[in-house]
Amino acid sequence: MYQYNAEDKQFLVERVDQFEKQLRRHLSGELDEAKFRSLRLRNGLYMELHAHMLRIAIPYGILSSAQLRALADVADKYDRGFGHFTTRQNIQFNWIQLPEIANLLRDLTAAGLHAIQTSGKATRNITADPLSGLTEGEIEDARPYCELIRRWFNLHPEFSWLPGKFKIAINGAKLDETALRIHDLGLRLVRNEKGELGFSVFVGGGLGAAAMVAAETASFVPVADILSYLESSLRIYNLKGRRDHQKKLRIKFLVRELGAAEFSRLVDEDWQQTKDDPELKLNLNELESLKKDFALPIEPISLDGFKETVDFNYSIWKKNNVRSHKVSGHSIVNISLTKLGAPPGDATSEQMRILAKLADQFSSGEIRTTKRQTIVFPFVRKDQIFNLWKSLEQYGLASPHQGTLAQIVSCPGRDYCDLAKAVSIPIATRVQERFNDMNKLLDIGDLNINISGCENSCAHHHIADIGLLGMQKNGEEYYQITLAGETLNETNIGKKLGPSVSGETIVDAVEDIVNVYIANRQQEEKFTDVFKRIGITPFKEKVYG
């Protein structure tokens, strides 16, 4: 597994030293609030009403067991014994005391972890497919590219003070598990007619009050030229992006105002000046060495004599949580952290240590995080899955929810967030209680419900089969419903169903929608396909009729 070397770790220590000085200057009144805010956000630190939230990067969603243990230690030593895995594959701690920040960050540097650019108006942590390198038919494993691009934009001198935050996703698979077209910039690995590897580039996606799907600005940028192309895209954004209007800072507004064609023309014009600069070429030697570092730690094995254990609960869990692996004799195992009533994505330090131990035992010590706030074990031998399941079961981690409607994605909502207009976790709980029959859940199949407590859309409700958005009407909590959002095969923002529905009746509405789906489904048809075939009206009639 790829690890930072001494040089990288030294850099992390230097960054902590720098931040500690800034913190001290701030506490002694030498660094004003506005500047400190800008600096602390670039170190992942948010000031909330009662405590501070710190977001730690999990680069492209990959952790070693040692790193997960380091995070568990942080949860115990500096927080209240838990952390929260986010929809962008990172982890957040919610109860951090300001004077302890530097010690916390210093503890993490030893494990190669940091909070650099996990917030603020800069390029953020890169999102990747949690199944990178694991599945058949991939165009290319995206991880080495993620790492090279992450490095390049780490404290980039020119692009550290952008108009708004800048999120990048990179996908190397055919299906898009990264939702790249709702990112500020999405890269898709592709091959041209000659079989050469490059990237299609999509710019200007994002959710929030004005949800937009990113437009393609280049259909093929050769691998070696990707850094200069990204620089040009960021330069145009840096120079021309809206800085005058708080709600129009993201690049999607610039792309919309200029038009995608004009934006991409400007990028191209800039790029022509730099694409041949040898300093800006992707370092292909480094790429090769990273490919070795990222090589899979497993070999094909044949398990001819192996007989799977027959057990009812196990088979249900297995159907929903285990996927096939490109290396024979192995599987990919998904682990849901969902517990009734707890915020999705929350993990206690004890759970983290157990997961780290199980990863050592069953998954070559590697763990991945997903945008559905679940955990993936990427390297499990087929003849060990039952044993893994038994251990998970023992620790309450064998929720069979994954791949069913009960695996709800929800933001913290009004229970924890100052910006919220409505609760989200209690709605998730009520939906889970309504659909608590496993046979029914299995019959419904894979259906995504995402709940955001306000328009900031932290839970990605726009791209769920059923999206719920909390709002206020005359002082009461209401939810706007969107249907048939998707990103896997194509990217579509969910369509608004109609007037928002009160908190009291929202779970009935969800059940109505599910029932319309079941009644109209042909064979294994997915929710989005049914929606495309029958349209919105049957859903409307059922919910508002």
Binding site: Q10, F11, E14, R25, N154, E158, L239
Partner: protein, 146 residues
């Protein structure tokens, strides 16, 4: 922020006083002004590409960093120094201690801090890291890793 400076002249590296004009003044009449040997103050919103053909007749360029979060000046500095090879000094005015490393690597050759700070080592802030992960206008003697 009463410390903000709106200088009308700056001293160049040969200790000569160079008068400064605004971007608009330069665009309006650069024929006349270039004979006088002036420098220009650029605001972040000024379209720096409009002066690229007259760079040879500009003595020095001051970029205004007063607004901490406005990152446009970094791209201006990059374009002037790296792309268009401006030969004069590029001076960051109203600069902030915590941004020196970014300014210098973007191509700023000299700076004037907006606020004075006591008890800090300027070098430390300008060059607080042992490596950097990208090529930029000025790599500042750092060990490159990319």
């Amino acid at each position: 922020m009463d410390d903000i400076k709106n200088p009308t002249s700056l001293i160049n590296k040969d200790y000569e006083t160079i008068n400064l004009v605004t971007f608009e003044e330069w665009i309006e009449d650069n024929g006349e002004l270039s004979r006088l040997g002036v420098g220009i103050i650029l605001e972040p919103s000024d379209d720096v590409s409009l002066i690229k053909d007259s760079l040879d007749s500009i003595e020095l360029i001051a970029l205004d960093f007063r607004n901490f979060d406005d990152g446009r000046s970094y791209s201006q500095a990059y374009l002037l120094s790296k792309r268009w090879h401006f030969r004069g000094e590029i001076i960051g005015i109203n600069a902030h201690l915590d941004q020196l490393q970014f300014m210098i690597r973007s191509g700023i050759t000299r700076y004037q801090l907006l606020e004075s700070y006591s008890g800090f080592n300027e070098e430390d802030y300008a060059n607080g890291f042992s490596i950097c992960y990208q090529a930029a206008a000025n790599n500042h003697g750092l060990n490159l890793k990319y």
